[in-house]
């Protein structure tokens, strides 16, 4: 009989809070990456309407210049800013920058890689994303 492998499965990707901020960042990075990909594909299709002449373009624009469209665009802005800012952090971290130096750990152990620098960068990425979204809202709905 097959032994149940007891993998946590995709559930393990959810509930990110239980392992701390870094896990939240991991999860947001995934979500925003996928979200952006979807948006990006849609965006390429959206802009392709331009080849069909002005009318088609205008029609497409109208479709997106709705409240829902604006909300989606705002979310995309947020996703983009978070994904970019956190992406830069992640790239540096994954190259071994700012993850701390090996050394004698003293009980109670505090892993050096989960340091405040990275936590701050994550928070900053989230913060920036929020700011950008507010700015976007202002621009989009402002007129």
């Amino acid at each position: 009989m097959e032994r149940q492998s007891n993998r946590e499965g995709i559930k393990g990707w959810l509930n990110p809070g239980r392992y701390g901020l870094e896990r939240v960042a991991y999860w947001l990075m995934r979500l925003t990456g996928l979200g952006l990909l979807v948006y990006f594909i849609a965006h390429v299709f959206e802009t392709s309407s331009i080849v069909n002449g002005k009318e088609a373009w205008q029609k497409m624009l109208e479709l997106t210049q709705t409240t829902e469209g604006h909300i989606i665009l705002t979310i995309v802005i947020g996703m983009c800013v978070f994904h970019t800012a956190n992406g830069i952090r992640v790239m540096l971290g994954q190259g071994g920058v700012g993850v701390g130096k090996p050394g004698r750990p003293d009980y109670p152990y505090k892993p050096a890689s989960l340091n405040s620098r990275h936590k701050l960068c994550i928070l900053a990425s989230i913060g920036l994303a929020a700011l950008a979204m507010m700015y976007g809202l202002a621009v989009l709905f402002g007129e």
């Binding site: 995709i10 080849v51 007129e143």
Partner: protein, 113 residues
């Protein structure tokens, strides 16, 4: 391809995209946002060769980055020789289709009209 090469491309495309997307968005800010989206100004943009090249670059970079990202998620999700092959080729196909489709727009909008 060696996984490290793929992932270096992933990071490279991301870095390239940071710069280019910033420019792309800045272009939206040179004028009032909705004005920038008027047909005429968009077409004008497309006719401006450096901008068109940049768009093409963004297209390639982000397609590669995005679909590789998707590939990563998918092979982490499920394993198996057949499945992983399908994911890999699927993503390559995705990149190809997206780039082709986007390029069509850029070419036609930039030179066709």
């Amino acid at each position: 391809m060696q996984e490290s090469v793929i992932m270096k491309i992933h990071y490279g495309t991301a870095l390239g995209a940071v710069v280019l997307v910033a420019i792309h968005i800045l272009f939206r800010m040179t004028q009032n946002f909705s004005e920038s989206l008027q047909y005429e100004s968009v077409i004008a943009n497309y006719h401006f060769l450096p901008y068109a090249i940049m768009l093409e670059l963004i297209l390639i970079l982000l397609s590669v980055h995005g679909f590789n990202g998707l590939r990563v998620i998918l092979i982490e999700l499920k394993q198996g020789v057949g499945y992983e092959k399908a994911v890999n080729y699927g993503c390559i196909a995705g990149i190809a289709v997206l780039v082709a489709y986007g390029s069509r727009t850029i070419l036609m909008a930039g030179f066709g009209m």
